[in-house]
Each structure stands twice: as C-alpha cells, then as structure tokens.
C-alpha cells in the first residue's frame, strides 16, 4: 500500500528537522566523508594536501605502534568492560538497592567520580600514585604490601589507568543498573518465593535474565567508549612510560595534532570506526539470539 503524504505536513516536518539536519550534515556526515577522503592524502595543514592512494592504509599495517596501541586498547577493553562496566557496578547496585539505612549516602559517594572532571581525577590519582610520597604506597606499606611504581612502571602503568577509569565510571553504571533493578516487578519475586526458590535461584532465574537487556546496553556503550579511551591517558601518562600506555585513540590524536599528519590520522580514525562498527554489529547479532526483550 502506498502511503499518502500531506504536502503541508511534509513541509512542516522538513522545516522542523532543519536545525538537527544542519548539525547532522555539516558537523556529522560531512566530516565523516571528509575524513574518508583525507585518509587517502598526505597533509601537514601547511602545504596543499597530496593524494597518495592507499599508502596510509598500507603504512597502518606496517606501523608497529599501531599494533601495540591496538593491543593496549584491547587489553583496556577486556579489563575495563567486565569489571568497570558490569561486575562492580552491578554488585554496588544490588547492595544499594537494599532497604537498609544510609543507602542514599553510599549512592551519592559512588556517583561523585562521574561528575569529577577527568583532569581533576587525573591529577589527584597521579599524586596518589607517586612512588615516593604517594598515599597509595603508604597504605600498601601499612598493609605490608610491596611498594609499586604505578604510572612509572611499564608493566602496571596501563592497569593503573584502568583502575582510575573504573573508579570514575563504576558509579555511573551503578545508577543505570539500579534503575533496571527497580523496574523488575515485585510479584516475580513473590511468586518465586512461594514456589520455594532460594536467593541464588532467584538471582539466577529472575534478576539476571531481567537485567540482560541492561547488561547488554552497558556492555555496548562501554565497549564503544573504551575503544575511544583518551582523557585520562592524555592527562596522566601521554602514552608513557615508553609506549606502555599508548592506546589507539591517543595515537590518532598525536598523529593529527602533535605530528600534523592529518591524512594518516584520518586513516587511523577510519580504521577505528570500522572496528567499532563491526564489533557493535556482532554484539547486536549475538544479543538477538540470546536476549528476549519481552517483559
């Protein structure tokens, strides 16, 4: 059946859409296409851009730092998403969802890092990680744990950054889970209890399945975000020591705005785009097979 459109309605729709569409076209779609074109050029911003075909993409495959930063990024994703995206926030959400005294206090505390600027967070954690005078090594010494060099150690610098990132975002994700927990109808629990289910069974058969869409949502968002990890690493280590914390997004940024290799940076950025696109698509496919959204 062919839909009939009212001319007047169509015109008003397009007029109403014009502001968002200007934003979409000029600062969304146009830059995406421009990036793609740029990725086939060599350009330092000062001389005219040079068309060099797929040279940039060939270089990406040969560039050791690309592979290293990609590996660091994947390491970051694999630790950050399960811990900072799901396990810690979900545990906290379940704990502060209880009807016990003081939960509002805990919710507020846990949420504070989310509204703390990355710069402030980065500075205070750098100071706490200080190997000689930092409070963390002092606390370690009180607990008879060996002192660490944290951000200065190539081995654990990246893990140190992941800890800060988890600290910053766990409370934010907790709030999302908390809302989902509150959305589970209470009669589900009552019915299960009447049937004699124990707490673990209730968690496994009711809470967890009901939370799956939210878990999926948080995982997708966290994966997209983690692949673009930038602020804290820029502030705290700039990729060092050596290249121990060089993550992919920082490497793109440095190529663009430190080394003025606009074409190469655009090519790297497009590779990231394609990567995120396929990972997200795969997650969507997997979720369609496993998660039923019907409540």
């Amino acid at each position: 059946m062919k839909v009939q459109y009212n001319k007047h309605e169509t015109l008003s729709a397009y007029l109403l859409l014009s502001p968002v569409m200007v934003g979409f076209l000029v600062f969304g779609l146009l830059p995406i296409i421009a990036s793609l074109l740029l990725s086939f050029t060599k350009w330092d911003l000062f001389s005219a851009p040079q068309w060099i075909g797929i040279t940039n993409f060939v270089e990406i495959f040969r560039d050791k730092l690309v592979w290293l930063s990609l590996w660091n990024t994947i390491f970051f994703v694999l630790l950050n998403v399960p811990l900072g995206g799901v396990i810690i926030p979900l545990t906290l959400a379940i704990l502060v969802n209880q009807k016990i005294k003081g939960v509002n206090f805990f919710r507020t505390i846990y949420f504070l890092p989310a509204i703390t600027l990355s710069v402030s967070a980065g500075f205070v954690w750098s100071w706490m990680y200080n190997p000689e005078f930092g409070i963390i090594n002092y606390i370690f010494s009180l607990l008879h744990l060996p002192a660490q060099r944290w951000l200065l150690s190539p081995k654990i610098a990246l893990i140190s950054l992941i800890i800060v990132n988890i600290w910053k975002w766990a409370g934010y994700n907790m709030i999302i889970f908390l809302a989902a927990l509150k959305g589970i109808p209470n009669n589900y629990y009552e019915a299960a209890r009447i049937d004699g289910a124990n707490s673990w069974q209730i968690f496994k058969k009711i809470t967890l399945p009901m939370l799956l869409p939210t878990i999926f949502f948080v995982v997708v968002i966290s994966v997209i975000g983690s692949f673009q990890f930038f602020d804290l690493v820029y502030i705290m280590t700039q990729g060092g020591p050596g290249d121990a914390t060089m993550v992919y997004n920082l490497y793109i940024y440095q190529n663009a705005f430190k080394f003025s290799r606009m074409g190469y940076a655009a090519a790297l950025a497009w590779v990231l785009f394609v990567l995120i696109f396929f990972i997200t698509l795969t997650q969507m496919k997997l979720s369609k097979e496993r998660i039923s959204y019907e409540y």
């Binding site: 859409l17 934003g23 600062f27 995406i32 209880q98 710069v119 709030i175 124990n198 995120i276």
Partner: protein
C-alpha cells in the same frame, strides 16, 4: 555470595540475619572508602603547607591548615574565567540542543513525511562514529573559519542537537496522547504553537533529563576544547587545569587546590538537583 544475600535482603526479609547486613555494610564501607579516598586526599593536600606535603609518613589531616594554596592557584590560573567560559558555552549549547532536538523529535514522532525512517536511522547511526573521526575535519573547518580560540568554536558545532537527544525526546513524544494534538489542531493551533504550548509543557521530565545530560556532556567535554582552544583565558574548566602542566611542576598543594576549584560548581549543582540527575540518568541510560 554477597549477591545472593543482598537479593534476599532487598526483596522482603527472608534472611534478616545480622550477619549479612553486616557483610553488606562492610562492602559498602570499603567501597565508599576507596571511592572517597581521592577526594579526601585532594582536599587534605590542598590545605597543607608546602613542607608538609612531602612529609613521610604522610599526614592524613593537614596540621596546620593553610589556604595559601588556594590563593596561589588563582594567581597562576584564572579559575573564575574558566567557570565563566564553561557556563557561557553550556547555556548556549543547552538552549540550542533542547530547541533543535524538540523540533526534530516532534517531526520524527508525530509527522508523516517521505524518508522519515531512513533519515532517522541514518541520523541515529552517527552515534557509533568515534569522536576522533569527526574532530579532524571539524578542526580543519573551524580553522578555515578562523574560529580557533573563540567561543564560536566551542559552541557552534554542538548547537544543533544530537541524535541521542532527538531519540530520547522522540520516545517521550510517542507517549503523549494523539487526542491532545488533534484537539489543538481543531482549535487552529499551528505546529509551532502545538510544540511550545502543548508538547513542551507536558515533556518537562524528558526535557530536564536532556538538559542535565547535555550539561554533563559539555562539562566533561575534553577532546574538542583541547583541540580548538590554545590561550589560557579561553579555556573551559574541563581543560583549564591542563595549563598547570609546566607552570607548577610537583607543587601538589596548588594543583590540588585547583582541582578542588573545578569540583565545586558541579558538586553544588549535583547536590541541589540530585533528584533530577538520577531521574535523568535513568531515563537517558535506559533508552
């Protein structure tokens, strides 16, 4: 373990035994200690005299307390100006985004026009595009306009709404009864009047959520200001502290005082509008 215990606690008392309440509290307190430690340490360091900052073992509480670091921080960096810049940019972007998203969302939710679904899904798919893909050409664009180091560079690219905001409001507009709009049409209301007189007043919760979401986005935005702002007096709070690098190396008292300055505005906003924050977050988080 603790998960299954707390579940039973949260949904009517099966086991109201003290021991698992105690365990919950233990975990909550350890968590709160770990989360609060950086804030405590920021405050403590900022109030210490320079000589005591590097004391070993460290002083937990500053003795004597000094405000010298706070004086020095504002002589090194113009924090009032950073705040002013942030507020100015945030107000423009909030108004711009709320208006654009409302108009766009109404069209997507309530009007029939050719290409509606296609345009909407294309628009929504931009959410997956990494920021850096757009930043490189946008930087070149802004540079060619000679807008580097201006408010325009910070405001204009973010003024026209986002796919996320449009999506959020569109979902909300679906829930507004069609009869209200039909009745308004019969009364001779034009589309704009329907939006401003009927839709917007009914959508206050969604608009508040969007407003808070935009505020937090602008507040935290780091990469874009970092790219288009060079001079110290044009910086927003989110990148203001980066100017400390090189200016006050290792002077942690001053740096921490600066960090406290950057925290105060948002913590105040948060404490006063906590309810809206949580509601806004759950709404934006779940859709």
């Amino acid at each position: 373990m603790n998960i299954n215990q707390s579940i039973s606690a949260s949904h009517k008392k099966i086991y109201t035994g003290n021991w698992f309440n105690a365990l919950s509290y233990l975990i909550l307190f350890i968590g709160a200690f770990l989360v609060a430690l950086p804030f405590f340490w920021m405050l403590s360091t900022s109030l210490k005299e320079p000589a005591n900052i590097f004391a070993f073992p460290p002083q937990w509480f500053p003795a004597p307390i000094t405000f010298g670091n706070y004086y020095e921080a504002i002589t090194v960096l113009p924090f009032a100006r950073f705040l002013l810049n942030t507020i100015l940019v945030a107000i423009f972007i909030m108004i711009g985004q709320i208006l654009s998203c409302t108009l766009g969302a109404f069209a997507f939710a309530r009007l029939k026009f050719p290409g509606s679904d296609l345009i909407f899904s294309m628009y929504l798919s931009t959410l997956m595009v990494p920021e850096i893909v757009r930043i490189i050409p946008n930087f070149i664009l802004i540079k060619s306009f000679n807008w580097i180091d201006t408010y325009k560079a910070l405001i204009v690219p973010n003024l026209f709404g986002t796919a996320f905001g449009t999506f959020l409001l569109r979902q909300f507009f679906f829930t507004i009864p069609e009869e209200l709009i039909e009745a308004a049409k019969l009364d001779g209301y034009c589309v704009l009047r329907i939006i401003f007189k009927i839709i917007m007043p009914l959508s206050k919760p969604a608009l508040t959520s969007l407003g808070i979401y935009v505020l937090v986005q602008v507040w935290n935005d780091f990469m874009w200001p970092l790219t288009v702002i060079n001079s110290t007096e044009m910086k927003t709070l989110a990148i203001g502290l980066t100017s400390f690098q090189g200016l006050v190396v290792n002077n942690w008292g001053v740096i921490m005082a600066g960090a406290v300055y950057t925290m105060v505005p948002m913590v105040l906003v948060f404490l006063f509008a906590q309810k809206y924050f949580i509601e806004g977050m759950t709404m934006t988080g779940l859709k």
